[in-house]
Subunit: 216 residues, 2 copies
Amino acid sequence: MKLAKSAKSQKRVLDAAAKMFRDYGYAGTTMRAIADEADLKAGSIYYHYKSKDELITAVLDIGINAVISSVEDALHALPETATGRERIETAVRAHLSAIIKIGDYTLATRRVFGQVPEAIRLKNTKLRDTYGAIWQKILTDAHARGEFKTNANLTLARLFILGALNWTVEWYKPGGRTIDDVARDFTAVVIDGIANPCGVIHSAADDNQQAQARAN
Amino acid sequence: MKLAKSAKSQKRVLDAAAKMFRDYGYAGTTMRAIADEADLKAGSIYYHYKSKDELITAVLDIGINAVISSVEDALHALPETATGRERIETAVRAHLSAIIKIGDYTLATRRVFGQVPEAIRLKNTKLRDTYGAIWQKILTDAHARGEFKTNANLTLARLFILGALNWTVEWYKPGGRTIDDVARDFTAVVIDGIANPCGVIHSAADDNQQAQARAN
DNA sequence: TCAATTTTCTAACTAGTGTTAGGTTTTTTA
DNA sequence: TAAAAAACCTAACACTAGTTAGAAAATTGA
């Protein structure tokens, strides 16, 4: 292995950068702070990355690509016959799993995206569109199969789903609710809503266990 | 009027600060850039605000307070008998209206919040909790009246709603869909879901007008 | 109008920024 | 083990940051 050590340091630098960008934003993160976090001197970073911009680009790309490929893989593993509900729940679960695994990168992506030089942002926007298209396809396919209301506003539904998903990274902490639980309940809201179905009125007897966490 | 001119300049500085923080983040925004935007010199800002931190604090507070009071006012204007659905739709509409009106502040709030010095963030977090509590009350009240499924996960529903709402600021642009439309469809998704109700299968004949906008 | 007050500007200070060139140390190769 | 390559460090560069003191300009009140 010729690049063994180099690769290791490079990853350390990248991880440190993601963490710092996440906490302090693009301009708020200094090369010296990244270096400290990665147990290096600032000058040494330039052996691995040509510039700060190249670093943030790498972090942004990893952040979205991890989510995209996680979701795509999970969807491809489903049988052709999978319903829209199954696909949505699967995609939500994959999205959350990816976020947990590389939380620093996705959070950095979300927080820093709006502040990065325009050229960098444009490159990254394509990836974001790709991800949006994946969701749009899930929805339109299921809609075409008659699984959804004829008059459902799918574009708006997608924006809501992605918005809510993007936001999970702000409140979801491992150790609380499991990913499976969140994915199931999340899907239930989107698919079925929270209202009593078909006018059936249930009694509201047992409803006192929801007053706990209020992360936001 | 003794403070007429001072008040005007102060507002110009504040507006400029919101816009700059929105685009370049906390550390990425310089006092000189704010001054330029406000037609002032950097040093003059300090006549109105003691420091950069005091500026960002003001912007953050305005951003959330505007949303909170807009939503609270709209809710109080509703009759006692209003259903959960009506309350949700009303709150969504008020939230969106506030965002449109002071978009720079809310966007700045959302983008900058994670990068601001901890002391400032803590003060602002209380306001955020207040807003979360408003939504939680809407949901639990309606739930207690039997309007929602007994087993609905209200906490998750709230996180979903707030996440999606927080995200609207990224894609909603005046001139496209009206606020009323968005609020109605948004509520429909949350309340009823997008699935065909009660197993009724509609034909998916007319479903080809959704392939337009894909903002995310 | 003219003195008092408010508002703004100028010019500078210190501290910290991304980046680089060239030297040192560590690791690999033969 | 000695030479070559890779990885890292040091010290500095030009520049920009937030902030301040004091002078200048604009506004106000009598």
